[in-house]
């Protein structure tokens, strides 16, 4: 499989109209091999014969429930499965995710949301490992490059080593680049603890990080402070 769009997908729902619509949405998004099943029995048969690479399941089915069906299918294969259900109670979502579902989307849903979430899961599972790694381990901030694997910052003046905490903080910011990461979240990543008592320590670490990655640490361009909330790695950074 070269791209995720080549994957065969199985959609299980007792509403024929929903099946038609989801199939159309997926086709429009570029997934052309979409199979549908209206009940557990059909789903089992298609799963065994066609061996799909991804499954979208409803929770309420005429001859059983989606949770049991997912457990049964999980016993045969580890392909990504996500729930698409009208049941929005936290207990149901937690049960589905707890049983090993890759995601839980509640109806009504936006077609784009379904496609994005499904693509994300398929990409994580089926994207060639080598490509992912090179994506994951190198960050470019203008002239500065950060190699997460070796934990060094490469600048035109030479190499600077990141400490373990700086590494953890920068990685968390990079994973959410373009978004604000709260100070609480950064503390949990670096110290596995709450912010309380670490306020100044966090500020000191951020200042040291800026000294390593910013050309002018007092006027940061990439690692920005969002007053009262946390920090943000500017979106203009490129992977």
């Amino acid at each position: 499989m070269n791209t995720i769009f080549e994957s065969t997908l199985l959609v299980v729902d007792d509403e024929p109209e929903i099946l038609i619509m989801v199939k159309k949405i997926l086709n429009l998004a570029g997934f052309f091999q979409v199979l549908t099943a209206g009940n557990c029995q059909q789903a089992r048969e298609i799963f065994d014969t066609e061996q799909p690479q991804g499954v979208i399941l409803d929770v309420m089915l005429p001859d059983g429930d989606g949770f049991s069906l997912m457990q049964e299918l999980r016993g045969k294969s580890n392909v990504p499965m996500l729930f698409l259900s009208a049941r929005d109670e936290d207990e149901n979502r937690l049960l589905g995710l707890g049983l090993g579902a890759d995601d839980y989307i509640t109806k009504p849903f936006l077609p784009r949301e379904l496609v994005l979430r499904l693509s994300g899961i398929l990409r994580r599972v089926y994207q060639p490992v080598g490509i992912q790694r090179s994506h994951d381990e190198c960050l470019a901030l203008g002239d500065v490059k950060v190699d997460f694997k070796s934990g060094v910052v490469l600048t035109k003046d030479g190499e600077k080593t990141l400490t373990a905490k700086e590494h953890a903080l920068l990685k968390k910011l990079w994973e959410n680049h373009g978004n604000i990461v709260t100070a609480d979240c950064l503390c949990r990543s670096a110290w596995d603890d709450d912010l309380y008592g670490y306020e100044n320590t966090l500020m000191v670490h951020i200042r040291r990080l800026r000294e390593k990655i910013e050309s002018d640490p007092s006027q940061p361009r990439y690692l920005l402070t969002v007053r009262g909330m946390g920090y943000k790695l500017a979106r203009e950074t490129k992977r």
């Binding site: 109670e89 936290d90 009504p108 936006l110 077609p111 709260t182 709450d194 306020e199 969002v226 909330m229």
Partner: protein, 452 residues
């Protein structure tokens, strides 16, 4: 149990006071009676005066006027017994009174009665003066006591009073305890009623009838409780069922509208109409979700998971979610937190509080189309933590503020409806309170007060 003890203690004290009061009244009455009676001249002085008034004038006895009047006041007859035992002079002497007396006779009647006439005697220079009162007019008694006994009389009286007091207190205590034992099961029964615990008291004894009524009340209450719970559950399940059933058709509306909105083959005006359908469907989706949550909160069907969270961290996270999800101009979001709010000091259901804050921010956005600056703050007041969501927009409509203090507010308050009702329900299940106000500087402020 404290209040029952209080009642019993008061009852004991009251009984003791009543008993003491009775003793005091008795003492006062008796003393008063004695003093009143002692005001009359004692008979013995009258007798001596009469004796002195009986004068012997050469063998002729004569009772002077004052002695005569004293005699008539108290006695009906008199006689003077000479030294030889013979009656030497008499006045009004009844026929059944002998005229000769031996020493034994005199000794006998001087203390008691003479032929059932109560008599008094007094010495006279010529013998013994005997004064008789009519039969059955006086009661005579004699007290013989040792000196020792008499000297202890004041002590005896004091002891008697103290004994009375102790007895009164002991009896009151005994009665109080007895009453306490009898009332205790009733008290337990009554206190169990508001806690919705079943009451099955023994229906014997003097409190049996009240116990029986309490038992019956408990059965009626538990039946009502069950019926109400059933009805609430049916209503919640019905709303959940309807919400569930609406979701599937709404999925189609939203899904196809979204596809049409992005269909390049359609003219822009139709794409725009599809966008409106999609947006309104999303609004229906959030309304259904709100309705479902509101009914669960209303009827206590929403399970709560209480954990200690950092209030500062919580509002930071909510604000950041909004900003990261694309909150843009003309809206802005800022926060104010104190350093102590970063500690895990607020016990709450984090997801529900997050929902309440999201509703409040959504409300500010929804009702200020021209944009506004929203501020989230947290502070530790005397009551406990207070989280405030304020904006500088157009504020709450007056009718909302009028209704916001009421407990039985209508389920929908215009466009401000369900979102804020959910906020109030959420804070209510945290035993806190929510207040809504318009600010003098413009805009409004909702405060979630967590009472600790």
């Amino acid at each position: 149990m404290k209040s029952l003890r209080k009642i019993i203690t008061h009852s004991i004290l009251l009984t003791a006071i009543i008993a003491l009061l009775l003793v005091v009244i008795n003492v006062i009455f008796t003393t008063g009676w004695i003093l009143r009676n002692s005001g009359e001249q004692p008979p013995k002085y009258a007798i001596s005066d009469i004796s002195e008034g009986l004068v012997n004038n050469n063998g002729v006895y004569n009772l002077n006027a004052s002695a005569s009047s004293l005699f008539e006041e108290q006695f009906s007859w008199l006689m003077l017994i000479g030294k030889d035992g013979h009656v030497v002079w008499s006045q009004n002497l009844p026929g059944d009174i002998p005229l000769v007396y031996s020493l034994a006779d005199i000794s006998s009647f001087s203390r008691w009665y003479l032929n059932d006439y109560p008599v008094s005697v007094w010495e006279h220079p010529d013998g013994l003066l005997v004064l008789g009162a009519p039969k059955n007019s006086l009661w005579k008694y004699n007290i013989t006591s040792t000196e020792n006994t008499i000297s202890h009389v004041p002590g005896f009286i004091a002891g008697f009073l103290i004994l009375n007091l102790i007895s009164a207190l002991a009896l009151a205590l005994f009665l109080g305890l007895w009453l306490y034992q009898k009332l205790k099961p009733l008290y337990n029964g009554i206190t169990a009623l508001p806690k919705k615990e079943p009451v099955a008291l023994s229906t014997n004894g003097i409190t049996g009838e009240i116990a029986r009524i309490l038992n019956e009340t408990s059965v009626i209450l538990s039946q009502q409780e069950r019926r109400l719970a059933d009805r609430d559950q049916t209503r919640t399940e019905w709303i959940a069922g309807v919400s569930h059933d609406i979701r599937t058709p709404l999925s189609m509306v939203m899904g196809y509208a979204s596809e049409l909105e992005n269909n390049p083959n359609l003219p822009a005006s139709e794409q725009d109409q599809a966008r409106i359908i999609r947006q309104q469907s999303q609004r229906i989706k959030s309304l259904i979700s709100d309705l479902n949550l509101a009914s669960k909160l209303e009827y206590d069907m929403q399970p709560t998971r209480l954990t200690k969270v950092s209030p500062g961290g919580l509002i930071r996270s909510v604000a950041v979610d909004f900003i990261n999800n694309g909150l843009d101009a003309p809206y802005s979001l800022s926060i104010d937190v104190t350093e102590d709010s970063n500690s895990r000091s607020l016990l709450c259901d984090e997801q529900l509080i997050r929902r309440a804050l999201t509703n409040l921010i959504d409300n500010s956005i929804l009702h200020n189309e021209q944009g506004c600056a929203i501020n989230l703050s947290v502070e530790n007041s005397l009551d406990g933590w207070v989280i405030k969501v304020s904006d500088n927009g157009k504020g709450y409509p007056p009718e909302f503020l009028e209704n916001s203090e009421g407990l039985d507010e209508p389920l929908l308050l215009g466009n401000h409806g369900l979102g804020l009702i959910i906020v109030r329900r959420i804070i209510k299940i945290h035993d806190g309170r929510a207040t809504f106000e318009n600010l003098a500087t413009g805009g409004c402020c909702a405060s979630l007060i967590f009472i600790q």
